[in-house]
């Protein structure tokens, strides 16, 4: 099918984009990579009065390290992150996650900002943003604010963004010394959305004892879910099997999955436990 008629503008600067978005009111939306938005338009599951195309805003496409923070512009494509040496050096979990986002042609176009605002609970960027406690910089014409990823996602495809706001930048903490990570995703084919996915980051000292831990679950809850209860269990431990099992059980108890054609709610909960164990083990054996 074809999208219903709309009006289109391609601004040359973020300020201009914000002004157009404001002028368009509730019926205007921004277009990023179009890899989630355009399917909805083509299927007529969504329609808009006006579209503000961000694709020529080079000032929103960048990867920049600022001391202990890795700043990624919202219009940076999945593929650019996947192959970035700078990201690999600063926060390798991001490259690992990027490689799992859709297929090559999808990654060539789709953007990190678009994925975060689209807020599919099974998507990789929301998951790692929750796991790593990313901060999202949102701008409107007369305001700028920073929202923690862990507070940004409200429900499937629902976030805290306001209609006149543009997500401009995503800030990830650079992996500290001793950081290790695990990433586990269950899906039918490479490139598919996760049935369940787990991302975790730990810091270990020289003896392999854990001092900080953060684990998040994707695909098994209405939003990506950071499971805070995991940290007290694994901190101070050396990752023996009993600890991993206890931590994974916490994760499985924290989620409230719903079932669909790819897996029942029960199956997803069980997979959370299995994959959480594997992800923690992967981190420890890194």
């Amino acid at each position: 099918m074809k999208p219903a008629p709309f009006k289109y503008a391609r601004p040359g600067s973020v300020d201009e984009a914000l002004a157009l978005l404001q002028a368009g009111g509730d019926e205007a939306k921004v277009l990023a990579g179009g890899q989630s938005f355009v399917p909805l338009l083509n299927l007529r599951m969504a329609s808009v009065e006006s579209i503000v195309d961000l694709n020529r805003l080079d000032d929103l496409a960048y990867i920049r390290r600022d001391n202990d923070t890795l700043c990624i512009g919202a219009m940076t494509r999945h593929r650019q992150i996947e192959v970035s040496d700078e990201v690999q050096a600063a926060q390798p979990l991001l490259c690992r996650a990027a490689a799992e986002v859709g297929h090559l042609a999808i990654r060539n176009r789709g953007t990190i900002g678009g994925s975060l605002v689209h807020a599919d609970p099974a998507a990789e960027w929301p998951l790692v943003a929750a796991a790593l406690d990313a901060q999202l910089v949102l701008r409107s014409q007369d305001n700028s604010r920073t929202v923690a990823a862990r507070e940004f996602f409200l429900a499937p495809l629902m976030t805290a963004i306001e209609p006149a706001e543009i997500l401009c930048e995503v800030r990830f903490p650079v992996a500290p010394a001793g950081a290790v990570w695990g990433f586990q995703e269950l899906c039918r084919r490479p490139g598919d959305f996760a049935i369940v996915a787990i991302a975790c980051q730990l810091t270990l000292d020289d003896s392999g004892t854990c001092s900080t831990a953060s684990l998040a679950v994707g695909g098994a809850h209405s939003t990506p879910l950071h499971v805070a209860d995991v940290e007290p269990i694994v901190v101070g431990s050396q990752g023996d099997a009993a600890v991993l099992t206890a931590a994974a059980e916490k994760a499985a108890a924290a989620v409230d999955p719903s079932g669909d054609v790819h897996g029942s709610a029960d199956y997803r909960r069980r997979m959370v436990k299995v994959l959480a164990q594997r992800a923690l083990k992967e981190a420890w054996s890194a």
């Binding site: 099918m1 074809k2 999208p3 219903a4 008629p5 709309f6 009006k7 289109y8 503008a9 391609r10 601004p11 040359g12 201009e16 002004a19 157009l20 368009g24 179009g34 890899q35 355009v38 399917p39 083509n42 299927l43 006006s50 579209i51 195309d53 694709n55 593929r79 859709g102 297929h103 090559l104 042609a105 999808i106 060539n108 176009r109 084919r189 490479p190 490139g191």
Partner: protein, 163 residues
């Protein structure tokens, strides 16, 4: 520079397979429809029109993209390559020849999308393993071949380029 305005029609210029085109389009015209209907280049196929089948894959500014998920206006100023631009006159592109030699197509509906995806895959990774080929082509659906011969065809080209 005048402030950017919302419009319903725009005049765009694109280079497709080395030819320059200038056309006025409604802004909601999908790039795939522009290529097929406005330019008459029908090698680019449309299967699903929502990004899942890969039949509409083309190369835009050196990277594979879904032409059903782009509006023609977004290609203004871009360099596009469709399947029509792959062969060198009567001489098939190595990937085309290899698809032929390896029986990598049956009905052929998916073939142009596979070929364009394979072009990008080999550009980015000239010596892919079988697994990398399968990953690289995972976004393209074929209802006939069972994929084995498609993977073989791409592998054969990758091996040729090594020798």
């Amino acid at each position: 520079m005048a402030a950017t305005q919302f419009t319903e029609y725009q005049t765009i210029r694109v280079r497709v397979n080395g030819h320059e085109y200038e056309r006025e389009v409604p802004v909601r015209r999908l790039l795939a429809d522009f290529i097929r209907h406005d330019l008459g280049l029908t090698a680019t196929h449309l299967g699903c029109e929502h990004g899942v089948c890969g039949a509409c894959t083309i190369i835009m500014d050196d990277e594979s993209v879904r032409s059903c998920l782009l509006f023609a206006v977004q290609a203004d100023g871009a360099e596009l390559q469709t399947l029509e631009g792959l062969a060198d006159g009567d001489k098939m592109h190595p990937l085309q020849q290899s698809f032929w030699d390896n029986h990598a197509l049956q009905c052929g509906f998916c073939t142009s999308g596979f070929l364009m995806s394979a072009v990008d895959l080999l550009n980015k990774n000239p010596r892919p393993s079988e697994e990398e080929i399968r990953h690289g082509l995972s976004g393209n659906l074929c209802r006939c071949t069972g994929y084995a011969n498609i993977v073989k065809a791409v592998q054969a080209v990758a091996e040729q380029s090594q020798s």
